[in-house]
């Protein structure tokens, strides 16, 4: 049975989603335990897969028993195995967290919510483990459709935000599909590795249409990941979505798209082509510098807690795109490591924002007032997440920034290094503002006199929300402290692609 582990990562949430759609309406209580069981299975399967990849090298799983390029294959190396684990673990943590919020926010649509939730997880995992460029598009459709549905189930303003997201997302997916179509015209193949072999063997790398395919795929993926000038759908969609939805989407969707970009650049087109023949690194790095700075500055201007975090995601996307395009080994390692660490940091702060909203019903940053007294554990976890986003050791955010900065120095892109440091400073301002409000209150000068009169009671969030948050905070520390094995897996992958 162990040789089926790649399939189980995807099939566990997929079958459970359909099952919930069938029976969840009549038996509402069954949804939540089923979600947890299926996601736990999925986590186990993905961990098994990673260990198998470490033992046996790249895994190939032929769907339908047809060898590629005739059939579709799952092709799993160190990179996808890691990203698959990140997806399943984040989904499991958010799944535990979802219990109360789903009942509170969408009480009569629990089964639809969880069906879409699990299908989204299946879609994201499928995108990551597949080795077929067109199959990636099909699963991209699944994950986009489910995320539109999940966001639109939020309060009133979510509908308009979703509409914007649908338009932008569809354009992005179409661009990707056009690119794959151009590649098919030139190579007659859809398998990623086979496309690369055909491009090299038939000497097609100089052709204009392959370049257009590259541009189309890259821009399509950029739209989907909200890279700076194409980001406008993201902040409102994530800010107005139901709590659980945004805690699942914010850590995963943009990161999976960055994975897709890396896969396309390194596996389909190859290092030679993307970095040496095209040589667009300078332009893209300047774009990512603008993305980082504008994301951080726009985050400063927000008063809505979740919207502020959403703008931080845009800055983080800039980190990763820049890191990838540095065309440097440590830059690439940093970018891939940042996919993992950023997924958990974003999860941590979004879980915190969800708890604040659940407790106070207020979206504003000032809602955290007095939280240190009321919810010390929640605040501790938040501080870990915030430190990680700022980049303070020993949290994992420090190490990914370290590699990114090293990559910037190695390749001589000082503008990227400066942007990273500036953005860390802005993050520090942002998060210390929140910590200050939580500790001293929104208006410390006024509130001082009343300080002793009303001592707020300690009231943590319920365990089903608190425990996931604490787990995430612990994971942030663990990934940071034990970064060595993870970095080694990533380094093996990066070295194998031939990047120096």
């Amino acid at each position: 049975m162990i040789e089926q582990s790649p399939a189980f990562i995807l099939l566990a949430p997929f079958f459970t989603a359909i099952f919930i759609a069938l029976v969840g309406i009549r038996f509402r209580w069954i949804c939540f335990p089923l979600v947890l069981i299926s996601l736990t299975l999925s986590v186990i399967a993905s961990v098994c897969t990673l260990f198998r990849v470490l033992d046996e090298g790249t895994l190939r799983y032929f769907l339908g028993g047809w060898a590629p390029p005739f059939g579709i294959e799952f092709r799993i190396d160190g990179l996808n195995a890691l990203v698959a684990i990140v997806i399943t673990v984040v989904a499991l943590i958010t799944g535990i967290y979802s219990r109360q919020r789903v009942l509170a926010e969408t009480p009569d649509k629990v089964s639809q919510f969880y069906t879409l939730y699990l299908l989204l997880v299946a879609g994201l995992v499928g995108m990551v483990i597949t080795g077929d460029a067109f199959n990636l598009y099909v699963l991209l459709e699944i994950s986009s459709l489910t995320s539109y549905g999940l966001i639109a189930m939020g309060p009133k303003r979510a509908t308009l935000a979703t509409f914007k997201y649908i338009i932008m997302g569809t354009i992005g997916a179409s661009f990707y599909l056009l690119g794959v179509g151009y590649l098919y015209i030139k190579t007659g193949s859809l398998n990623m590795l086979d496309i690369h072999e055909q491009l090299v063997a038939n000497n097609l790398l100089g052709s204009q249409s392959v370049m257009v395919a590259f541009i189309m795929i890259t821009i399509g993926v950029w739209i989907k990941m909200a890279f700076f000038p194409l980001h406008s759908w993201l902040p409102n969609a994530y800010a107005f979505a139901p709590t659980t939805t945004s805690s699942l989407l914010a850590p995963l969707v943009t990161k999976v798209m960055i994975y897709v970009m890396i896969r396309m650049m390194l596996t389909v087109f190859g290092v030679e082509y993307t970095f040496i023949q095209l040589d667009w690194s300078n332009i893209v790095i300047w774009m990512s510098v603008i993305a980082i700075l504008s994301g951080s500055v726009m985050a400063l201007a927000q008063t809505d807690l979740r919207k502020m975090l959403a703008f931080l995601i845009i800055a983080e996307v800039g980190y990763m795109v820049g890191g990838v395009w540095l065309a440097d080994q440590s830059g690439m390692i940093g970018a891939i490591y940042h996919i993992i660490s950023d997924a958990f940091m974003t999860l941590c702060v979004f879980l915190f924002a969800g708890i604040v909203f659940a407790k106070t019903g207020n979206r504003n940053i000032n809602a955290v007032e007095g939280m240190f007294k009321k919810m010390p554990l929640t605040m501790m976890a938040f501080i870990v997440g915030a430190f990680s986003l700022i980049g303070i050791p020993p949290t994992c955010g420090f190490f990914s920034k370290w590699y990114l900065i090293q990559g910037g120095i190695n390749s001589g892109h000082w503008e990227f290094v400066i942007a990273l440091l500036l953005s860390s400073l802005i993050n520090a301002i942002l998060f210390f503002r929140i910590i200050e409000i939580a500790y001293f209150g929104a208006n410390p000068a006024e509130g001082h006199g009343h300080h002793h009169t009303e001592e707020p009671k300690r009231s943590e969030a319920s365990p089903s929300m608190l425990i996931p948050l604490l787990c995430t905070a612990a994971l942030l520390l663990a990934i940071g402290i034990f970064n060595d094995p993870i970095i080694r897996i990533i380094t093996d992958f990066v070295v194998a692609t031939g990047l120096r």
Binding site: I18, A21, G65, Q112, L145, G149, Y182, G188, S189, S209
Partner: protein
């Protein structure tokens, strides 16, 4: 904004057109997409591999059956998402404005009713033919399902939503849609349980007295039926949700 959009469209169009010089000639039998081993393989080997004469179906439901499974899931997801977003439970009497006519008022038009009575069985029979013959001639689950779903929509248009919902209540829609996916994915799971990879139908010959190659052909018919279930149900579900402002009379 309009000017920015116009410029973006122009640049994209120019980019797409600029690659055309590079393309193989239109209809060139030696172009990579036509002459390369992939298409050649499908053309020459499909029948010996799967015993299905219609190679489009073989590519769709077997070689790339995993894609098609998820294309079906796309339709299913769309249906569930529309129910999730639009459906409003309870207080079904408050259906407003124009939609009221679609749901309740019975229309007494002899001509329309008689035509429907004649047409609907034929449409449904034809749909079944398209589904059942998908792996031999053009057709299949998506097309057949769409035709079948259209027959219910015709019923709802000619009478009212209530009449159509008597034949196809909301709960049955959801069950049908889920069962459709289960049929498709169940074929895959059965292969996996019997020891092959997911969706490798050839091992199903153990369950029936047929050869592995025939097992592929029969399984393709099976998955087409699954697709048809889902497409039929979701077609009608989307129609009834949109037309009744999501307050279906015959609720859950």
């Amino acid at each position: 904004m309009k000017i920015i959009g116009f410029i973006a469209v122009c640049i994209t169009g120019w980019l797409l057109l600029s690659a055309i010089n590079d393309f193989p000639d239109f209809g060139d039998p030696h172009s990579p997409a036509n002459g390369y081993r992939l298409s050649q393989y499908y053309i020459t080997d499909t029948f010996t591999d799967t015993s299905v004469p219609n190679m489009v179906t073989a590519v769709l439901a077997d070689y790339r059956g995993y894609d098609t499974l998820f294309e079906t899931v796309v339709i299913f997801t769309a249906g569930i998402a529309i129910i999730g977003i639009l459906r409003r439970y309870g207080s079904s009497d408050k259906s407003v404005g124009r939609s009221k006519a679609f749901i309740e008022e019975p229309r007494k038009d002899l001509l329309i009713h008689t035509t429907c009575r004649l047409l609907i069985p034929i449409i449904q029979l034809f749909a079944l033919y398209v589904i059942a013959h998908g792996h031999h001639s053009p057709g299949g689950g998506f097309q057949g399902g769409a035709i079948f779903g259209a027959s219910f929509i015709l019923l709802a248009l000619a009478h009212n939503l209530k009449t159509a919902e008597k034949r196809m209540p909301e709960r049955r829609i959801l069950t049908l849609a889920g069962v459709g996916i289960f049929i498709y994915a169940g074929f895959g799971l059965a292969c996996l349980i019997l020891g092959n990879n997911f969706l490798d139908y050839s091992i199903l010959h153990k369950l029936l007295p047929i050869t592995p190659i025939e097992a592929r052909s029969h399984s393709m018919l099976g998955v087409e039926i699954g697709v048809a279930f889902t497409v039929t149900a979701i077609m009608f579900s989307i129609y009834s949700n949109l037309v009744s402002s999501s307050r279906m009379k015959e609720g859950l």
